[in-house]
């Protein structure tokens, strides 16, 4: 039954406008980060140095730096996918065909998560190709990128990015479930991830390791200063579990009057 809800969700997600805008949009954003990073890098400074880019993990530095942006976009798309079922009124149609609400929500979540993870993988592949081209244009040696260590770094980073995307997507869907308005969900989510967490962290730096956005970003980047990878992973999992439980509880209990 969850599979039926999953395939139904994919019928909606694979429409050309959403598919192309998400896949190409994420690929453009990730590639832009890579291009900017390579173009700004110098021997002694910039966002990163040319020497850092030549290291085994140089291939994925750009994609890793774009993780916050990719995550925010994933969050917005996931939130709007759930909330728009309320604003369009389509939820009542769906619930007549699948009255088991937990099954419906699980199928929708799985559908949206796979869609966004695939979009992220596509964006990452494009960004990696752009990184190779940019390296050649800046004269950055790439031999270390394709060693066992380099490829290991690449797959580990892509795995972390996928985990972070799942986290952002679930938080986005949960928020969409609570606010039931696509626009409001995206605004609230973006404001929290981009502005509110930054402000809180600047005022009380010790809170950084307890914030949901910061913990998921730490996972995406393999750990950041102030929030370690393992800590981000555990806290992120807690936030995601609470978000799923809360969204499910609200969905199971609420009247559908939209």
């Amino acid at each position: 039954m969850t599979w039926a809800a999953f395939t139904s969700e994919w019928t909606k997600l694979r429409r050309p406008t959403l598919l192309l805008s998400t896949f190409l949009g994420l690929a453009f954003a990730a590639s832009l980060f890579v291009v900017l990073m390579f173009s700004q890098a110098t021997a002694h400074g910039g966002i990163v140095t040319l020497h850092q880019l030549a290291q085994p993990n140089g291939l994925v530095i750009g994609v890793a730096r774009a993780s916050m942006l990719l995550g925010v976009v994933a969050f917005g798309i996931a939130a709007s996918q759930v909330a728009s079922e309320y604003s369009l009124g389509t939820l009542r149609q769906l619930l007549v065909r699948q009255p088991r609400r937990a099954v419906l929500l699980a199928g929708k979540m799985l559908g949206t998560i796979t869609f966004l993870v695939l979009a992220l993988c596509f964006a990452a592949v494009i960004a990696l190709i752009v990184a190779v081209v940019a390296a050649h244009s800046r004269g950055v040696p790439t031999s270390a990128w394709f060693t066992g260590t380099g490829l290991g770094d690449m797959f580990r980073e892509l795995g972390d990015l996928a985990l972070a995307t799942i986290g952002y997507s679930i938080l986005g869907m949960a928020l969409g479930q609570f606010v039931r308005s696509a626009v409001f969900a995206v605004i609230v989510g973006f404001a929290w991830l981009i502005a509110v967490e930054n402000i809180i962290t600047r005022i009380v730096p010790s809170t950084e390791q307890w914030l949901p956005g910061a913990s998921i970003t730490a996972v995406a980047s393999g750990g950041v200063e102030g929030v370690g990878y393992a800590h981000g992973m555990i806290l992120g999992a807690v936030y995601v579990t609470v978000a799923i439980a809360a969204a499910m509880t609200v969905f199971l209990r609420s009247d559908v009057t939209a």
Partner: protein
């Protein structure tokens, strides 16, 4: 008619059993009681009109039947399944709830495919329902490009997707032009011909009268009446429009009618009166007028309509929900 009477009647009918049956169905939103102790008994195989003014609680009742809204109290069964477990019967139910709602960017066909996949229905069922609702030629077009009538027909097609035994249509003619309304009527009648029980709600009583053989009337969330349309019409007191040849005779005529036990209501801006004459026919009224030396210019029996029956049963002259009993946006 009480629920028990309705059950007795329908149990004797060839249809045999009730498609929808509720007892004490109630829904409260905060301090507002939107549906109040509703006892429905809708026979299988009927085309049942669900009538009430805007704000009467029709849509909320339908949402409770479909498991979208949880009843505050009460119980019921649909096609033998309890309304507390919608999954036990919704695979045999099709529904169009309020305005049709689909994904604007998807074609009509893809919208139905999404629903078919969700309900684990064969995708091969999509084109036949599109054809039946007259949308096959435009099935590949995006939903957002559809006219209101086409959207409504796609809603009907979606409701038919599961080959339902019960079809619930909430205000299916809303926003349609006269041609679209006639088409929709034809479509609904064709479902009845297939043996599907149809529950169709409307605030337009005249609309219901044309397509239904059974009617449930509610007002302010409470059941006013349910029973067959024919019985309801037959039970009405005859009403006549009566006018004297000379306008000056109208007061005398009114007096004679009232003495004979008739209820006389002046018709605004007219010299005729509306007469409710229990046990009297047109000939009796004519004789009564002649006994007073009055010649009648007009003596017309007015049509026995559901609308009249509704107002008679509710004791009101207006379809509006009384002030203080309005349900706001929730119907």
């Amino acid at each position: 008619m009480t629920m028990q009477q309705a059950m007795d009647r329908t149990d004797e009918s060839p249809r045999g059993q009730l498609a929808v049956s509720t007892t004490g169905l109630t829904k409260r939103f905060a301090d507002r009681t939107v549906v109040d102790g509703l006892a429905l008994a809708i026979p299988s195989g009927s085309v049942c009109g669900f009538v009430g003014p805007n704000g009467a609680g029709k849509t909320t009742t339908i949402r409770m039947l479909l498991g979208l809204v949880r009843p505050t109290s009460g119980s019921g069964t649909i096609l033998g399944g309890s309304i507390s477990e919608p999954a036990s019967y919704l695979d045999k139910v099709g529904a169009l709830i309020e305005s049709p709602a689909f994904y604007p960017q998807l074609s009509g066909r893809d919208n139905l495919k999404a629903l078919a996949r969700l309900g684990q229905l064969p995708l091969a069922a999509v084109d036949p329902v599109l054809e039946r609702s007259g949308l096959l030629a435009r099935a590949g077009d995006k939903y957002r490009s559809y006219s209101l009538g086409m959207k409504q027909r796609l809603g009907i097609a979606a409701a038919m997707l599961a080959s339902p035994r019960l079809l619930i249509l909430d205000e299916p003619t809303n926003g349609l032009d006269p041609g679209g309304i006639v088409e929709m009527r034809g479509l609904i009648r064709s479902f009845a011909g297939d043996g599907i029980t149809v529950l169709v709600s409307s605030h337009l009583i005249s609309e219901i009268e044309q397509i239904c053989d059974y009617v449930v009337m509610i007002r302010a969330g409470r059941l006013v009446h349910q029973g067959s349309v024919g019985e309801l019409r037959a039970a009405q007191q005859p009403q006549f429009i009566v006018a004297a040849e000379r306008d000056a005779d109208l007061p005398l005529l009114t007096g004679l009618l009232q003495e004979a036990g008739c209820a006389v209501t002046p018709r605004p801006a007219e010299t005729a009166v509306l007469v409710e004459a229990p046990g009297l026919g047109a000939a009796d009224l004519n004789r009564l007028a002649a006994s007073g030396g009055i010649t009648l210019r007009q003596l017309t029996e007015s049509t026995r309509s559901l609308e009249r029956a509704f107002f008679a049963l509710t004791g009101t002259a207006s379809a509006d929900v009384p002030a203080g009993q309005e349900m706001g946006a929730i119907r």
